[in-house]
């Protein structure tokens, strides 16, 4: 494998990690106002991701940084092209990050309720907008011969990509509910399970529609060479199993299968794109690929060495963190950390 391919895979791995981890994070944020009836319940829900959400968000920052370092043209084209969508997402993420920290600083129900809705918006919007972005990556957008996209926000709001956004929201909500069923007790866990079952139905319906549309709208599942068909099938199997495990009360397995759904769906997208990263809908020759958009061989070599050393270290301490906080969080005012 040449280094360009290595970095394509590494970027795909970073986005997979990001969607898997922030997926349940966003899901928990979306469900927070609905599953938590009392303050200590909401606090317990937040505390299931409290120690880890920040580390999860770094997956997105690192994915962005890695894109910048390894495929600077992709970084430039994508971020300037999706300008308004990104700004909206950043505003939402800013609100969300601050909300986790600030909600507890005043013991006032109205104050806390406001921040809880900020967490909801801050989780819902990024989920929707990432889905929208991925939808547009799959169907391509109007990139010109100089790698610039001039169309603004409106053409990005096509129905196919909006459906992609809704798939993300539904999948992440399900993923978050599965996570909460695993990490909470009593009332909340029961409500999370019921919600997980509903979200599973919605996610399955939307995903099926989206995959069928993808088959006709894009070449992600059909192009010759590497394509997304096999990971798409694996994602479908995992999704079905996740629903079945949810019904039979196997929370751990339901979460694992939901996670695999997210992982395989992301793999499907990147496999379908390869070796392109951004598809031009004007002319396939204008697409940004792992060759024409890449950093120099020297930079890729330096970055490969850095990544080979530090990615494993990051994985070790993040996995250790999840082990430290593996217990369920009780909605008990005596033990909750605010």
């Amino acid at each position: 494998m040449d280094l360009n391919t290595v970095w394509f895979v590494l970027v795909a791995v970073l986005f997979t990690g990001f969607f898997f981890l922030e997926g349940f994070d966003y899901g928990v944020g979306i469900l927070l106002p609905f599953l938590g009836k009392k303050d200590e319940q909401r606090r317990a829900i937040i505390n299931t991701i409290g120690p880890v959400w920040d580390g999860n968000e770094v997956w997105m920052i690192t994915a962005g940084g890695a894109l910048f370092a390894s495929f600077p043209h992709v970084y430039a084209t994508l971020f300037s092209g999706f300008y308004l969508a990104l700004i909206l997402m950043l505003a939402a993420l800013i609100l969300r990050g601050v909300a986790f920290e600030y909600r507890s600083l005043r013991d006032d129900p109205a104050w806390r309720n406001r921040w809880d809705w900020a967490i909801f918006v801050g989780s819902f919007l990024p989920a929707l907008l990432w889905g929208l972005t991925v939808g547009n990556l799959m169907c391509g957008f109007a990139i010109d011969a100089h790698m610039n996209y001039w169309g603004g926000l409106i053409p990005l709001l096509n129905l196919y990509s909006i459906l992609g956004g809704l798939v993300f929201v539904a999948l992440f909500t399900m993923h978050g509910a599965n996570f909460l069923a695993l990490k909470t007790e009593g009332d909340i866990a029961a409500r999370a399970k019921a919600m997980g079952s509903k979200a599973w139905g919605l996610a399955t319906a939307l995903t099926v529609a989206f995959v069928i549309w993808t088959f006709f709208e894009t070449d992600i599942l059909t192009k010759s060479g590497v394509n997304g068909l096999i990971p798409a099938l694996l994602a479908a199997v995992a999704l079905l199993l996740s629903g079945w495990f949810n019904k039979t009360g196997k929370d751990g397995w339901a979460f694992i299968m939901g996670s695999l759904t997210v992982v395989f769906a992301t793999v499907m997208v990147f496999a379908g794109l390869f070796p392109r990263i951004l598809i031009s809908s004007i002319d396939p020759a204008f697409s940004l690929t792992i060759q024409n958009a890449a950093a120099s061989p020297y930079t890729l070599k330096v970055m490969t060495i850095v990544a080979a050393i530090f990615v494993p270290i990051v994985l070790i301490y993040q996995i250790w963190t999840y082990r430290v906080f593996r217990q369920r969080v009780e909605a008990d005012p005596e033990t909750l950390i605010y």
Partner: protein, 455 residues
Amino acid sequence: MDPLIFARWQFAVTTIFHFFFVPLTLGLSIFIAILETRYVCSGDEMYKKMAKFWGKIFLINFAIGVVTGIMQEFQFGMNWSEYSRFMGDIFGAPLAIEALLAFYMESTFIGLWIFGWEKLSKKVHLATIWLVAFSANISALWILIANSFMQHPQGYMLDPASGRALMSDFAALVFNPNVIFQFPHVLAAGVSMAGFVVMGFSAWHLLRRHEATFFRPAFRMAAIFGLIGSVLVGAIGHFQGQFLVVHQPLKMAAAEALWETEGPASLSLFAIPNEEQQTNAFDIAIPYMLSFLSYNNFTGEVEGIKGLVAKAEAEYGPGDYIPPVALNYWAFRVMVGSGSLMALIALLGVFLSRDHRLDERKVFLKAVTYSAILPYLAATAGWILAETGRWPWIVYGLLKVEQAVSPNVPAWNIVLSLGLMTLLYTVLTITALKLGLEYGAGAVEIGKTAVAADE
């Protein structure tokens, strides 16, 4: 409408807001780590209480620092896509490394620190806060390596086909001489800011006779912190200035509002620069002093703006090469003035906090409370000088700001995002200040883990 001016404003707003919150976390994380070390070594519960109390102030700042940092990273692709295309090969690497080396570590271990008091052994818990302090400062190092490439590019070669700058020497990128000055300067600034914020809150409580046993030792430690930080920041800054006289002479000439070449050059103390007529309407100056500061001798010739502009035009072609002189002149004075005042106050603080009579020094304590604003003024002014003084270059000598902006983002998009972000930042900053003050002043109970000052 020209998008350039709005993109520049957005860069300014993002950077200033971001750096309003970050330096405190650099120094305060070290401060808290020292407190917890004393707790673990001595077993004295008061140090644990102190670590938790200042930890909350840390977290209020950390939260905003993180989220404004995402904008700081992403704006290069959003507003400055041409910059990202032409410099991304070399500039993207330190940003990615920063995330990989530092952000992961900082955000993971801060989570462990907050939620791990009961779950981790004392020593492991102590290690988490030291790792937070270490990674916070490592992240500063990598972002400054990136900034130093913009200030003093090296380790690159220009690709003749595409005109892009390609990384040719990673070691030269990392060991940029600009970093050797800039990193310790920023680190010391963070330490001094932590010192002054802790001193400020402690003075406020001591004035009200709240828990003197809690706040008196904090004050003393913070005064030492503030003194070390502000003396170092000034000393390093001096050498950094001498480096810039050689490598970015126009920035320093603008910072001194020195229009004509002088040898020996005098140091201006108070001037009203007139940028249209390229002269100073009013000027009080100390003879020989600028030569001394620039070269360690009293006769060295310091080149003025007019001469330097002629040289720049000869080298790079005609164009506007004069940084905003009044802005740089005053930013420089605000920075140096605040820093000097801080060194003085911290010195007095160390001296006066030797014994319990500190509580009776009402005037001094009141002054210290207000002086917590000084490091913020200094840090903001410092970045204004560092970034606007580089005009017209986004990468010094290589790429002009006007060539770097995204061609495909219309002005109204930037205006919209600038408005949204400014509004959001303003609301959040006011909230952060209010919460910081409320909490630091002990007025709020935070759940049941609150360390109320009056308990």
